[in-house]
């Protein structure tokens, strides 16, 4: 992980924005995924006990970000998992990722809210002053 890697939330009136930053698009995507976990719980509380592999294809990086987050939302929902660590590779239009996590434990994770989907609102994947930023609003 580079020294540039970090994540944060940003304001949306009804919902919440997720933003990841890093030295590469891959790292920014990993951080955005951590911000997604951060909507539900503190990512530090999630132990990487099992791994889920996923892949998606999209014609541009912005659509790819939405697809990546929606693929994670699907896995979280259908497997009742939370993820605390991510690894992403992007080659051309294809993203391959691994998410490490564990089953939701209400006592331990105290999940705040469930995420319905990633949206195209405030969607941006761009390099600004040497820093890759990947962000969008998620519907909760």
């Amino acid at each position: 992980m580079s020294s540039l890697a970090r994540w944060e939330h940003f304001q949306h009136q009804a919902d919440i924005g997720v933003r990841g930053m890093g030295a590469t698009p891959e790292e920014a995507f990993e951080m955005t995924a951590l911000a997604l976990t951060g909507v539900v719980t503190d990512p530090a509380l999630v132990e990487p006990r099992e791994a889920v592999k996923l892949a998606c294809d999209a014609p541009d990086l912005e659509l790819l970000l939405v697809d990546w987050l929606n693929a994670l939302i699907y896995e979280m929902s259908t497997r009742s998992l939370l993820f605390g660590r991510y690894a992403v590779t992007i080659e051309g239009e294809r993203l391959e990722g691994t998410a490490w996590g564990e089953p939701v434990d209400r006592q331990k994770h105290k999940p705040a809210v469930e995420v319905k989907g990633a949206t195209y609102t405030e969607l941006k994947v761009a390099r600004e002053n040497g820093l890759w930023i990947a962000q969008c609003v998620v519907d909760v």
Binding site: Q13, L63, D67, T119
Partner: protein
């Protein structure tokens, strides 16, 4: 600069503002709100309402309700109708992720005094019986065949399986079963996402509340609705769960990718839409209608779970359904436009259908007075029952507001309040909150919402719907 000045809004009636078409707008924007509500709106509401006005085949105006706020593509609180004969479109963003999210209200016939000694027990029993919050699972598992039957049958399917009564169906929009649902348009992933979620409340702003009728504004209509001051009612606010979210996700993406092929220029990708007469447009309608049925079935199952709890604590109270409304939909309806009746596809994104007296869709018992319009508030402030009006048809295709709308982001709310403190403060006011998530409670703190009464007063003055009764919460089960 004020919103009115910047947007060039002209007052054109009671709590009604109009913005003339400019740029690529095909029709005006019409916003129903008091000046104070209008000035309090985020400027992106106006931008989004203008964007909607540019979409092909839009009829009359791009409307926004008094509770309008910044949404996705469409403003939340947006109403727009499209004509298939004029190249009209259907927009997955204009319906939203939580397809057919809505509210239903059950009448208990119990006065508050009878409930009071059992309040704690009732709160605990409801929280135990109704799965809520992330990680909760429904008690019903559907195999593929049953899932298909549910997607086609809606609340009717649920009643046939023993969840509720035949009488509930005529108190539900579409008589409990949305026609034109096509389960074959629903992906395996959408089905998978629903498999463990039948009969669950969800999280976020969804809730189940036991409420007291605190005030009655229109005695005659209230009597017809079976609502009297001091009575206890139960309201359920939830939607189509994982199935609707996945359908929304998948079709939004397909519409974004296909839009250029249909010659549609999107000012905002989230406005993604497809012509009503295209393969994709028809596929979405078929899938979206299964989402409506899923939401109706879901609220019907939860109704049964509530009735089971009441039957144990208050035997002899059957809890009849007052009405069930959906506020995230696109519906094919006939409307009077410029002297003629036209078949339109009306998007209501965070807006409630509000049919006036005499509408054939209404059950006979309600036809004389108009449709119950159920407006959810926040945990602390209360909710309203309104009634559809005759003039609402001409104002906004028979539509009204849907709730309070957030005044503060989730993040700002958690910085300001702690969940425990919110629970304690509400308890001191006699409101029992049951939730598996204290952070969720903080995010939904009453202070994070706009004052619902301002929204309702404005809808009342504009004539979109008329006030009938105000409800205050006594018990709130949150996800």
């Amino acid at each position: 600069m004020s919103n009115v000045e910047r947007e060039g809004l002209v007052e054109s009636g009671a709590d009604r503002w109009e913005m003339a078409p400019r740029g690529g707008m095909r029709v005006p924007v019409v916003i129903f709100a008091s000046r104070a509500l209008l000035e309090g709106m985020d400027e992106r509401v106006f931008e989004q309402a203008r964007n909607v006005a540019t979409l092909p085949g839009i009829v009359k105006a791009s409307h926004a309700m008094p509770d309008a706020h910044w949404g996705y593509g469409f403003p939340i609180g947006g109403v727009a109708a499209f004509d298939p004969e004029q190249g009209g479109v259907v927009s997955a963003g204009g319906v939203g992720f939580d397809i057919s999210c809505g509210v239903r209200t059950l009448l208990t016939g119990l006065p508050r005094e009878e409930l009071e000694p059992y309040k704690e027990r009732l709160a605990d029993a409801l929280a135990d019986n109704i799965p809520a919050g992330l990680g909760s699972k429904g008690l019903i598992r559907l195999n593929d065949r049953e899932m298909t039957a549910m997607l086609r049958g809606g609340a009717r399917w649920a009643v046939e399986r023993g969840y509720g009564e035949e009488a509930d169906l005529e108190r539900t929009e579409e008589r409990g079963c949305m026609a034109g649902a096509e389960p074959e348009q629903v992906s395996a992933r959408a089905r998978e996402r629903q498999r463990q979620e039948m009969g669950t409340l969800g999280s976020g702003n969804h809730y189940l509340e036991v409420q007291e009728v605190a005030e009655v504004y229109d005695e005659a209509v209230a009597r017809t609705y079976g609502v009297a001051r001091g009575d206890i009612v139960v309201s359920i606010h939830c939607g189509s769960r994982g199935l609707g979210h996945q359908i929304g996700t998948e079709f939004l993406r397909r519409m974004v990718v296909e839009a250029p092929r249909h010659g549609i220029r999107l000012p905002d990708r989230e406005l993604a839409c497809a012509p009503l007469d295209s393969t994709l447009g028809r596929a979405y309608l078929g899938a979206m209608r299964t989402g409506i049925n899923c939401a109706l079935a879901n609220r019907q199952i939860i109704t049964q779970l509530v009735r089971e709890v009441f039957a144990r604590l208050f035997p002899g109270h059957p809890l009849p359904l007052l009405y069930d409304v959906s506020h995230n939909t696109c519906k094919e309806e006939w409307h009077q436009v410029e002297g003629g009746r036209r078949r339109l596809f009306v998007h209501r994104k965070g807006a409630t259908r509000a049919f006036g007296p005499g509408h054939p869709e209404l059950p006979e018992a309600l036809r004389g007075v108009g449709q119950p319009v159920l407006i959810g508030g926040s945990m602390g402030t209360g909710s309203y029952i309104l009634c559809g009006t005759a003039q609402s048809e001409a104002l906004a295709f028979s539509s009204a507001c849907h709730g309070a709308g957030r005044a503060m982001s989730r993040r700002a709310a958690t910085r300001r309040w702690h969940g425990r403190q919110v629970v304690d403060e509400l308890a001191a006011r006699g409101i029992l909150v049951r939730s598996p998530s204290l952070r969720g409670v903080a995010e939904e703190a009453p202070g994070a919402y706009k004052e619902v009464s301002e929204v309702v007063e404005s809808a009342h003055r504009a004539g979109l719907a008329r006030k009938v009764a105000r409800l205050v919460p006594l018990i709130c089960v949150k996800g």
